[in-house]
Amino acid sequence: MINFREDFEFNADMPILEMRSLCRNYQLGSVELRVLREITFTINKGQYVAIMGPSGSGKSTLLNLIGCLDRPTSGHYILGGQSVAALDDDDLSVIRGTRIGFVFQSFNLITQLNVVENIEVPMYYQGFTEQESIARAIELANMVGLGDRLEHRPTELSGGQQQRVAIARSLANDPLIILADEPTGNLDSQSGLDILNILDRLHDEGKTLVVVTHDEHIATRAERIIKLFDGRIAEDIYNKR
């Protein structure tokens, strides 16, 4: 076991995420489908990166790899100074729990749990004490403006509120990267705007954000856009804000 809880100090220039010649192939019968081919890029601490591309360009696969839900067929993936390409399932779970905060398109809250309990889920698996975990969950809920909805179930919340819970949850273990997959895809424009504002705020606070999206509006808010096409990086643009 590696000690994941120890905190590295990252300089702004040191890459928080580094991918080198990363490939991911799927075996479909006798045909080998090469979804990602030789992906190489780095993301520095505090960057706000949008990953864009048409359907089938390999966005989701890249997202799963970054999120350590999947393992590359070949290549290197270094997250926070730790090579994760060859880790076993348990270690990947720990990496996901401690270094990555997920925000999904369809919120993915657990319906049996209320707001506080949902935010607590990642902390639960990292062995926080009850008091610590509840206190932090409440603090995070307040931060996303849900201080008055602590006991509500996801079904009693609007889409925007649910997504805010999800963002609070993604912050629970103070991850290296917040990984958002179409975070506004299921929201009306006003709620979407709220979510984007929260993401901006997180960026301003120095969080590293990776957002996968179709939406040019989101992309314009990011400081860097990586465009995928046919499993390759087609463009890597830095926005001027």
């Binding site: 799963n64 999120g67 839900l69 999947d70 399932d89 348990d90 779970s93 720990v94 996901r96 729990g97 401690t98 997920f102 999904f104 993915n108 809250l109 657990i110 319906t111 049996q112 749990l113 889920v121 990642p122 639960y124 698996y125 990292q126 062995g127 004490t129 009850e130 949850r169 273990n173």
Partner: protein
């Protein structure tokens, strides 16, 4: 920390079980009935066997009981029923046992007569036992008041009697019976003692069944006894029994209804039984006796009990297996219903082990709840059985532990596979699951 996680896991489990109340209850029913039937059946079995063993033990484990039975009627005598029937054990038999069989410690010949007994205006039908002064040595009788019969009584054929506690209650209520005269078949007998018979409501072990059928007219309720000196009985009642039946009077001549032999040591019981058998077969051409060995009965009872336990065990195993399959079925459904939740948890840092623990603890909670409720029901059912059928039931702690242990084992065994399935789902797939 660990405590907090355990608490959370249990709380979460309870929550999701509570969300599907009906489903949880229906699932648990299988376990409840399985566990309760195990306990109830074991309780009934245990009760029956203890009953039998106690009754057999009252007969005395070192005793051999030789009883007179009415021999099967031969064809030739069918037409002439009024003829005097002569059969059964004799005083000579008793003498022969005493003389010829080694290792006999005590020998008690008994003459049994069913008679009406009267004290003042109260009258009951009772079994009168003509016996010897050392009768208490072979059966657990306690003298409550006065004394038992003495050799003087026997020698002088005194008109004295010792009554059982039941007779005392029936005839004397609160009066002091000692020194009172009771009337049996026209003669008066003075009560010299009261004994406390520990025989239950009937003295025939039910488990021994037909092999121990009561001889002659004595069968049925044997609630109490009156003991008279054997010599007195022989003198006053004679050896003739007259039965008035629809086909006319029936005359029987029987000297002794039973001879009880007690041997020195318990391993002499079976050899002595064989000697008695050999001896009797030489002098009794008709099959007019039976030999009851409580020790053998006890062994048989234990054997029966063992078979009982095996049968019950198999029934228990089957019913719990069915319950377990039900649980597994439901947990499979639950797992596939909550695929997405599993994906979320995996993405948020849950290891496979965490998912296994989560689902396994849910299954365990179901089965343990079922186990506890089943124990409750299982302790209640024997009460009902006892109440309605007068059958004795004994709930042993062992059966409770066994049933509970089995339900826990079922929970783990049948919860393992669904939990394993849940843990091994691909997180990416499960996150996409609708």
């Amino acid at each position: 920390m660990a405590l907090f996680r355990l608490k959370r896991t249990l709380k979460l489990g309870l929550k999701s079980l509570w969300m599907h109340r009906l489903r949880s209850i229906l699932t648990t029913l299988g376990v409840i009935f399985g566990v309760s039937s195990v306990i109830a059946m074991l309780a009934i079995g245990e009760g029956a066997s203890r009953d039998a063993q106690e009754k057999i033990a009252q007969l005395g484990s070192r005793n051999i009981i030789i009883k007179t039975v009415s021999p099967p009627e031969d064809k030739s005598s069918l037409g002439q029923q009024q003829r005097l029937k002569e059969y059964g054990l004799t005083y000579d038999d008793a003498e022969r046992f005493r003389g010829a069989i080694p290792g006999v410690r005590v020998l008690v010949p008994n003459r049994l007569v069913s008679e009406q007994v009267q004290y003042r205006n109260r009258r009951i039908s009772i079994e009168v036992v003509g016996t010897v002064p050392w009768h208490p040595e072979i059966s657990p009788t306690q003298i409550v008041y006065g004394r038992f019969l003495s050799s003087v009584d026997t020698h002088y054929k005194q008109a004295v009697c010792v009554i059982g506690d039941y007779v005392r209650k029936e005839l004397f209520l609160f009066d002091n019976p000692l020194g009172q005269d009771i009337r049996i078949s026209g003669d008066y007998y003075r009560v010299v003692g009261v004994v406390n018979e520990q025989t239950g409501s009937d003295n025939a072990p039910s488990l021994a069944g037909n092999s121990n059928a009561q001889s002659g007219g004595e069968g049925g309720a044997n609630l109490g006894r009156i003991y008279l000196p054997l010599t007195t009985v022989r003198n006053r009642f004679g050896d003739l029994n007259i039965q008035i039946s629809s086909s006319g009077p029936k005359l029987e001549r029987v000297e002794l209804q039973e001879i009880i032999v007690q041997v020195q040591e318990i391993d002499r019981v079976l050899p002595t039984r064989r000697s008695i058998q050999t001896l009797l077969s030489r002098f009794h051409k008709k099959n007019d006796y039976e030999i009851i060995v409580p020790l053998e009965l006890m062994r048989q009872a234990k054997e029966v009990q063992r078979i009982f336990t095996v049968v019950l065990g198999s029934i228990a195993a089957i019913s719990l297996l069915v319950g377990g399959i039900g649980i597994m079925n439901i947990m499979m459904a639950t797992v596939s219903e909550r695929t997405r939740e599993i994906g979320i948890r995996r993405a948020l840092g849950a290891k496979k082990r965490d998912i296994i623990i989560q689902f396994l603890s849910e299954t365990l909670m179901l089965t343990l709840c079922g186990g506890i409720l089943g124990i409750g029901l299982g302790m209640f059912v024997p009460l009902l059985v006892t109440h309605f059928s007068q059958m004795r039931t004994v709930i042993t702690t062992g059966s409770l532990i066994l049933a509970f242990g089995i339900s826990a084992a079922v929970g783990i065994a049948f919860g393992m596979y669904p939990a394993y399935r849940a843990a091994n789902m691909d997180p990416i797939e499960s996150l996409r699951h609708e």
